[in-house]
């Protein structure tokens, strides 16, 4: 059974006088352990697609089966739990809590998983060690470089043993050298732990890390190799 099974999804934004079709008739299947790079020009619907995959947003029409479960029938809290257990997010703008230490940021998903503080500490440390921030536990986001902040975000994404990591332009705010480091980290996670990684980028160099490439244009998939 496929991990992600998308069937004929459309997403329409109703802006009153005009309707914007951000996604139109998108269907695809992604299996466990894949490393997918999503490409396409700005405004082609990549982020919209990722948000639907991450259960942050719902499609206007179509079906989305995650691990065989139709997410359409799930409540707000069911979706929150699904995100908590299965999905890790990495954003272009990092999206860390400000004035909150690296380790507390990483602990966040575990708090909502209801874990004890002792367990949280241990798992968060392990996750930060894994992304190479062993000596930065108590740094605040504004005391870390962009690359380090993105590593904290990756640690947060994988701390609760997520099966899927959704990364929307994770290297968009980083320089080339740091981008390469981040990508190598993601590759390691994919190969060593079998985490499914879906990555949006518009840089062809970055897209090369993906073993499968999906190209969006005007809200539809135009290439899938």
């Amino acid at each position: 059974m496929a991990l992600i099974d998308i069937r004929n999804i459309c997403k329409t934004y109703d802006l009153g006088d005009v309707k914007v079709n951000a996604l139109c008739g998108v269907s695809t299947v992604i299996d466990k352990g894949e490393f997918v790079a999503i490409m396409g020009p700005s405004g082609s619907g990549k982020s919209t697609f990722m948000n639907i995959l991450g259960c942050l947003d719902t499609p206007t029409t179509g079906k989305y089966l995650l691990d065989g479960v139709d997410v359409e029938g799930l409540s707000r809290d069911d979706l929150a739990e699904l995100r908590n257990k299965k999905i890790g997010f990495i954003f272009q703008g990092f999206n860390l809590l400000s004035r909150t230490s690296a380790i507390e940021n990483v602990e966040l998903p575990l708090i909502y998983a209801g874990m004890s503080s002792r367990q949280r500490r241990d798992l968060a440390r392990q996750a930060l060690d894994r992304v190479g921030l062993a000596n930065r536990y108590n740094h605040l986001p504004n005391q870390l470089s962009g690359g380090q902040q993105q590593r904290v975000a990756i640690a947060r994404a994988l701390v609760n043993n997520a099966e899927i990591i959704l990364a929307d332009e994770p290297t968009g705010n980083l320089d080339t050298k740091t981008s390469v480091e981040i990508m190598e980290l993601l590759v390691t996670l994919n190969q060593q732990s079998g985490i499914t990684i879906i990555l949006v980028t518009h840089e062809p160099d970055i897209a090369l890390y993906g073993r499968r490439k999906i190209r969006f244009l005007d809200g539809s998939i135009v290439e899938d190799v």
């Binding site: 948000n51 942050l56 809290d77 929150a80 997010f89 954003f91 999206n95 860390l96 909502y112 609760n160």
Partner: protein
């Protein structure tokens, strides 16, 4: 569900980030709570003072006066038309089962002289039972007796104010004072009772046998007449039956026909004083209610700031939702934040309110009474304000769409 102590830590951090804003928000609650505490303290202080005064006057008291209060027609003022007699008082004692003690009085104002000191005060001629009617004890000496009344003995009991003004530090027992030039032997000194509910000094009094007053000091053209008869009923429940029995008895004794008006008035002192106590209760309630309004205003301040906080932290809410925060996780976070604000404000307000009440009674002399109940009430009320006014902002936060919250600029 996330755990509470962690949520409190998050709330405290959020409060610390905006110190000034949090302090100003709390100020609303501080003012509200301390106003409630102070106002209730002032109100219950007044109430307690009235209660003390009531018990100082004596309980279950009825006062019978000459004359009538019935409106209509030309009538004499109360007490000006002497219709009550010593015999009436004795009959009430004998024939009214609800009555415990009876004390007729007769007297007036006069100058009292001891050595080279003098003092003008009220002289009340009465019977020994007066002290039982008024629940009044002696600090020294003895009460006068029925024999003293029969023989119109020249003995007197002095109130504390009189003793203070005439004797200073001399022991008055056995000393001789002159009332309208008549020498009296001091046989007893009354306990201090302080002010009456109407503000009179109850200790500025001299009690002498009623016969002595009638024959030797305030002789009138109506011998055997008394001004006022004080009556103590057996219990509070029997006050109204005592009133009825006395009225019937006196109508009979005074031969008043069925259509005629009473030539006397029975006043229920206890009822009158309880009415005063009641009005103090109402005042306490009113003051508390007015102060509560400021607490509500403080609550609105919290709501206002929480709404601002939710808007400012939309992205944070989005991040929390993205990593798995459920509806009640978000709600609790903001409710606890509001609760923390209001409770800290509440505790400071309680301390402040207690201090203000103490200062008020110290500087203005008003009696204030801080009850644990009013503190508990203020505390619970401020908690309630936090939850009540925190709920809407928390609800709003929890209903944000995850993706819209995340994308909020």
């Amino acid at each position: 569900m996330i755990n509470i102590s962690l949520t409190i830590r998050i709330a405290l951090r959020a409060i610390k980030v905006n110190k000034m804003r949090s302090a100003l928000t709390m100020l609303g609650i501080i003012i509200g709570v301390s106003a409630v505490i102070t106002m209730v303290a002032v109100g219950s202080g007044a109430k307690q003072r009235i209660a003390e005064q009531i018990s100082s006057v004596g309980s279950n008291l009825l006062m019978i006066l000459s004359g009538t209060t019935t409106p209509g027609g030309v009538r004499m003022g109360m007490g000006t038309q002497p219709t009550l007699t010593f015999g009436d008082a004795q009959a009430i004692q004998r024939e009214c089962p609800s009555v415990q003690y009876v004390a007729p009085t007769h007297g007036g104002a006069a100058q009292v002289i001891y050595g080279n000191q003098n003092w003008s005060t009220g002289i009340t001629g009465t019977t020994p039972d007066m002290l039982y009617v008024r629940d009044w004890g002696l600090v020294s000496g003895r009460n006068f007796t029925d024999d003293d009344v029969r023989s119109a003995a020249k003995v007197c009991l002095l109130g504390k104010t009189v003793v203070d003004n005439l004797f200073g530090s001399v022991n008055p027992i056995g000393e001789v004072v002159r009332i309208k030039k008549v020498p009296f032997t001091v046989i007893g000194v009354l306990e201090s009772k302080g002010q009456s509910p109407t503000g009179q000094d109850q200790d500025d009094v001299i009690y002498i046998p009623i016969t002595t007053s009638q024959k030797k000091i305030f002789g009138t053209q109506f011998p055997g007449m008394v001004r006022i008869i004080m009556v103590k009923a057996r219990s509070t429940e029997e006050l109204s039956s005592a009133e009825k029995e006395i009225t019937e008895l006196l109508r009979q004794r005074h031969r008043i026909g069925p259509k005629q008006e009473n030539d006397f008035t029975v006043r229920n002192l206890t009822q009158m004083m309880e009415a005063q106590e009641q009005s103090a209760n109402v005042m306490t309630l009113l003051l508390g209610a007015i102060a509560s309004v400021s607490l509500v205003v403080g609550g609105i301040g919290i709501m206002n700031i929480m709404l601002v906080s939710v808007t400012e932290r939309t992205r944070e809410i989005g991040i929390r939702m993205a990593v798995g925060a459920k509806t009640w996780d978000i709600r609790l976070q903001f409710i606890i934040e509001a609760l923390t604000l209001s409770m800290i404000g509440g505790i400071i307000g309680i301390i402040f309110g207690v201090a203000v009440s103490e200062a008020l009674s110290y500087f203005s002399g008003w009696k204030t009474l801080i009850s644990p109940f009013s503190i508990a009430l203020a505390f619970c009320f401020s908690a309630f304000v936090g939850v009540f006014f925190g709920f809407y902002p928390a609800y709003k936060a929890s209903m944000l769409k995850p993706i819209e919250a995340l994308r909020y600029e």
